[in-house]
């Protein structure tokens, strides 16, 4: 008996504990130096940072409007960047006004739809704004987009409200039924960026193409055999494998792709695999976004500070004694409101750190921040009452000069958040007539 248990224990621990590093340095080649070209060559980037659980509204709300505004206590970390951020008031996603307190609101923060209540069988959201942008610029950069987080997907179904937690763990949706999995290991992200930026050697690319051709053949064969409902899964497979095939073909073709990295990645600079704490983990992910944008490996990124209903402990912050979700249900107690504010401000500080890094990255006469749109958003205003009105939203950067930053735009009450997305898609170079429930561009944002 003893031996069996011992053996069992060992194998479980092995299975659970040992992560595997894939080799990636072998093909290291000097990437061509950044060809400094004119300003016109500077692409616009788009990043979306999502914070769960809403904000302490009085501490968050900036005073004044237009160019004459004051940063609130929560927004203090942005002081040095005041002229490079835009603040918003009175935006919301009407589609998320009812349903439950969290999933309905948070899963739809970038889709502006009403998600379908399900334990998983029939997931339905919309396409998210970042993915629309990524799909419309596919092929211009090695990676169409990056989806990042720091906590693994939340497991299971929230039986109390009847939604699968898949909703609460994804803000990027390639289509209404396909959320995009996130990478949470900073080292893997770096390796992926490095590989993508270095490109596949022609010979290896040819082999990959052979292999992909074979497995795509299997998929087509299967597709003809299964029922209609199952075809969706095979189509998903075909879609992701085909886009990989296109990339491989570009790499394997003799005529070189027009894309060049705007900066080189040092493989020795790869970050640790397991950050020591939450704060370091978030910082490293901010660095990954910055590096991805600097090198132009991708122009679209999303990041989740936590999943829906996240109760990450913030006791590492001085003056905070509880978890995030717990504190957000402050019940108007003064002490909890103070802690709520501290947690919110910490998130804003991480955001400010990313903006700061992008601002240091020169791009000709401008900086990467000047050529970016980095949104910070929560899908609730007051977390205690799950309030979906007047969402806390900031946009950093000037979107390549299109965004009139340095103002607080106060829209009329309950204006569609989707209007902001229409303007952002315009600045990104992928204009749309409408996005979800939009009624037009967001007044006062674009130059």
């Amino acid at each position: 008996m003893k031996n069996r248990l011992e053996l069992s224990r060992r194998s479980v621990l092995q299975g659970a504990g040992v992560a595997l590093g894939l080799p990636w340095l072998e093909a290291m080649k000097a990437a061509p130096a950044s060809a400094a070209t004119g300003a016109s060559a500077n692409p616009v980037r788009m990043a979306m940072l999502y914070m769960p659980n809403g904000v302490n509204v009085p501490a968050w709300t900036p005073k004044g409007k237009g160019r004459d505004f004051e940063l609130s206590p929560t927004l203090q970390p942005l002081a040095a960047l005041k002229d490079r951020v835009t603040l918003f008031s009175n935006l919301w996603n009407e589609g998320a006004k009812s349903g439950d307190g969290h999933y309905v609101k948070e899963a739809a923060i970038l889709t502006c739809t009403t998600i379908k209540k399900t334990q998983g069988a029939d997931l339905a959201n919309g396409i998210s704004v970042d993915q629309l942008a990524a799909q419309r610029t596919a092929g211009q950069t090695p990676l169409p987009s990056l989806e990042l987080g720091v906590t693994p997907v939340a497991i299971g179904v929230d039986a109390v409200v009847g939604y699968t937690r898949v909703y609460g763990s994804h803000i990027a949706w390639a289509n209404p039924s396909t959320p995009l999995a996130r990478e949470i290991n900073p080292r893997s992200v770096y390796e992926r960026l490095f590989r993508a930026a270095s490109g596949t050697p022609v010979d290896a690319a040819k082999m990959d193409a052979l292999l992909l051709d074979r497995v795509l053949g299997d998929a087509k064969q299967l597709r003809g055999q299964v029922g209609t409902a199952d075809r969706i899964r095979i189509d998903e497979y075909l879609s992701v494998m085909r886009s990989l095939e296109e990339r491989v073909q570009r790499a394997g073709s003799e005529q070189k792709s027009t894309w060049k990295p705007k900066a080189t990645l040092d493989p020795k600079a790869a970050p640790v695999e397991r950050p020591k704490d939450h704060a370091e983990h978030v910082r490293l992910m901010m660095d990954m976004i910055a590096v991805a944008f600097q090198t132009d490996t991708t122009r679209v990124a999303t990041f989740m500070f936590g999943n829906s209903v996240s109760n990450i402990s913030f006791r590492f912050l001085e003056g905070v004694s509880a978890g995030h979700h717990d504190v957000s249900h402050h019940q108007k107690e003064e002490d909890k409101l103070r802690q709520y504010h501290l947690i919110n401000r910490w998130h804003v500080a991480q955001y400010a750190y990313l903006l700061g890094r992008l601002a240091e990255m020169k791009e000709g006469e401008s900086t990467v921040l000047d050529n970016s749109m980095v949104m910070f958003a929560s899908a609730l205003s007051d977390g205690n009452s799950h309030n979906p009105h007047n969402l806390p939203i900031i946009l950093g950067g000037r979107g390549g000069g299109r965004i009139q930053s340095g103002q607080h735009i106060v829209s009329i009450e309950d204006s569609p958040l989707a209007n902001l997305y229409v303007s952002m898609l315009d600045a990104f170079g992928t204009p749309v007539e409408r996005f979800a429930d939009s009624t037009g561009p967001l007044a006062g944002l674009l130059a």
Binding site: T164, V166, P179, A219, G227, R233, S313, A322, S385
Partner: protein
């Protein structure tokens, strides 16, 4: 047609007004709907496009089952009637939704037991790792590079519906396949297993490669592979040779292709194109069995049994269950099932005890792994020793290690030198460590990382153990009264009493808090304590008219509700076994399994056997067509055995 069985708590827990009398149920449901719903849901443009006419006849329980299901759920959850409209009392809404749930089940089961859907399913991260391990005979957690999978259905990460694919998967699959084959090419054991032929006199390179692939492909795709399909992979080998690859490299390149094929990555069952329910194919059954109990591909023995056509015999299946559970690979099943069912996977994530307050958990890796594995190993012992599943509520034995003994402050009756290893040990009489309640892992995941919470623990028992999660809090929870002076010194019980004084909160909190208080003697990491914040622990709880004190009496209260517990465990395990969420029709299967388990002394293997022998596990529904044709369905008695398969 999905229904979360929203059986109202109060009724099940024995503290509510009587249910509708049997013969008046339908009439009373209609009078409930007239009183609370008719104002909006009638006329030419009913709100939400829903007119009460649709649910006005007993036949509608079958024809409009989905509508009835969502009605029962929304009423139970307090979503309907909406804010501002006259509200039913808690008793009224629970009577209504309980009656509706039961009536729906009865209507669905009247037609006999059906297999339900069996959607195509991608191997999840754990299954992918284990399958590559067994296929290539390499010992690597190759899937750790993949993103974690979310969960759906009954709450597991093997639910077909939520196993979607992202672009990142395609990259990772390509990299992992290369890594795995490069690794296997250097391992003696793998080479022995894979390279069963080599070119030489009279054997061309292509012939050798074909032999290798002929042996590998049926294992990789978990079913016989026609020669034409083998030829396609021989073609891949030839293409690699043409690109200048050496013979062996080209062989491993073809294997790499196998590992990225959808036939490897997905479990696909050829659809049933007849009009009747059919037994699932032999090889598909072998895969269903091995992914259920091993989380990996079928072994030679299972494939042989499938090939001989014997696998589908109930006696063979039954004998296999015991054998498979005793195999080391069933540990993966125990771990994935228990850690997701009970939520202990979060122990290393969001439910990790605060490192400053509980440094021993943070610093002591051995203790941490003992805590994490205790419920897993405990459950596996129940399976392999074929003990009653009720031991999960209370038991005479537990899994002990010297670290856990120290935490428990009990003396471990084993020699010191071996005591670090987990072992199955008898508990002293009147121990407070029987079953899963009181296990540090369980106490931690039902607490905040920094303090215990009777509310969370009560809700955890209702949800995880009894399958009756409390309804969500009302959208606008009225704030508790401003903290009174000196509030800081008040105990959790005093503070929660305020909460329960509020009628809106009390309806649910009186159920949750009572259960949770009985566990207050366990701190966040499960240590026994008799006082908290300088105040003695008051561990008395109540549930309606039932009063109890401490975890021992709580266990008895739960044992009094063993049918609820067993039903919930059955729901979870059937959902895990089928890899999908359960539907209303599945509740008939669940009824039959629960009965079988009860008749077999609640033995753990009886539960697994009953699931393996159930209709959804062994049969396949016809492919849905525009209009579903009449399907001969097995009678209720035949839930576990089809005619002609009577057990001896």
């Amino acid at each position: 047609m999905r229904l979360r069985c929203a059986i109202p708590l109060a009724v099940l827990l024995g503290c509510a007004a009587p249910v509708y009398a049997q013969d008046q149920g339908f009439a009373r449901s209609q009078s409930f709907l007239k009183t609370y719903c008719q104002a909006c849901h009638q006329g030419s443009s009913p709100v939400g496009g829903f007119h009460l006419d649709r649910v006005s006849t007993p036949a509608s329980l079958k024809a409009e089952a989905a509508k009835w299901g969502s009605m029962a759920r929304r009423v139970h959850n307090g979503e309907m009637p909406p804010k501002g409209a006259p509200k039913p009392t808690v008793d009224e809404l629970e009577q209504f939704s309980q009656w509706a749930t039961q009536a729906l089940r009865a209507a669905a089961c009247a037609g006999g037991i059906k297999p339900g859907p069996a959607p195509i399913r991608r191997l999840n991260r754990d299954e992918y790792s284990a399958t590559i391990r067994d296929l290539l005979d390499i010992h690597l957690d190759i899937g750790s590079a993949l993103p974690a999978d979310g969960g759906g259905g009954e709450g597991f990460d093997n639910a077909a519906e939520t196993l979607f694919l992202s672009p990142i998967h395609s990259e990772k699959y390509m990299e992992a396949a290369k890594f795995a084959t490069d690794f296997a090419a250097k391992e003696f054991k793998s080479r022995q297993k894979l390279l069963i032929a080599k070119p030489g006199p009279g054997v061309s390179e292509e012939q050798a490669a074909r032999k290798i692939l002929e042996a590998l492909l049926p294992r990789a795709f978990r079913q016989p592979v026609p020669a034409a399909d083998v030829a396609l992979y021989v073609g891949l080998f030839n293409a690699a040779r043409k690109q200048g690859r050496e013979y062996e490299e080209a062989v491993f390149f073809a294997i790499r292709g196998v590992l990225v094929s959808p036939k490897f990555l997905f479990r696909v069952e050829p659809p049933n194109r007849t009009a009747a329910v059919q037994p699932v194919g032999d090889y598909q059954l072998a895969s269903r069995l091995s992914y259920f109990l091993w989380g990996s591909m079928p072994d030679e023995l299972l494939l042989d049994a499938a090939a001989s056509g014997k696998l589908r015999e109930p006696a063979v299946l039954k004998s296999l269950v015991g054998r498979m559970l005793r195999n080391d690979r069933s540990l993966g099943f125990a771990q994935r099932f228990i850690e997701q069912w009970l939520g202990t996977r979060d122990l290393v994530g969001t439910k990790k005890p605060d490192p400053k307050l509980y440094p021993m958990f943070d610093n002591d890796e051995e203790l941490r792994s003992d805590i994490r594995l205790q419920p897993v190993l405990f459950f596996r012992e129940l399976l392999t020793r074929d003990l009653p599943v009720l031991d999960l509520i209370d038991s005479t034995h537990t899994i002990g290690t010297s670290n856990l003994a120290k935490l428990y402050e009990v003396k471990l009756p084993v020699p010191r030198d071996a005591s670090k290893q987990p072992r199955w040990m008898e508990l002293p009489p009147n121990s407070n460590r029987g079953g899963i309640l009181g296990m540090p892992a369980i106490m931690a995941v039902s607490s905040y990382p920094y303090r215990t919470s009777p509310v969370l623990r009560g809700a955890w028992i209702l949800d995880a153990m009894l399958g009756t999660p409390p309804p969500p809090p009302p959208p606008n929870v009225p704030a508790l009264e401003e903290a009174k002076a000196g509030a800081a010194n008040r105990t959790m019980r005093q503070r929660l009493a305020d909460h329960r004084a509020n009628a809106v909160c009390a309806s649910c909190h009186s159920r949750m808090d009572g259960l949770g208080f009985a566990l207050e003697n366990y701190d966040v990491i499960g240590r026994w304590r008799t006082e908290d914040a300088g105040q003695p622990i008051d561990n008395s709880g109540d549930l309606g008219p039932v009063h109890f004190k401490g975890s021992g009496e709580l266990r008895k209260v739960l044992l009094d509700r063993k049918d609820l517990f067993v039903r919930n465990l059955t729901n979870k395990m059937l959902g895990f076994a089928l890899g999908r969420g359960l539907t209303l029709e599945d509740s008939c299967t669940v009824d039959a399994i629960v009965e079988e388990v009860r008749n077999n002394g609640y033995r753990a293997q009886a539960l697994v056997e009953a699931i393996v022998l159930s209709v959804p596990f062994r049969y396949q529904a016809p492919l849905p067509v525009a209009k579903p044709s009449a399907v001969p369905v097995p009678t209720k008695v035949a839930a576990l055995q089809r005619p002609g398969e009577r057990k001896e």
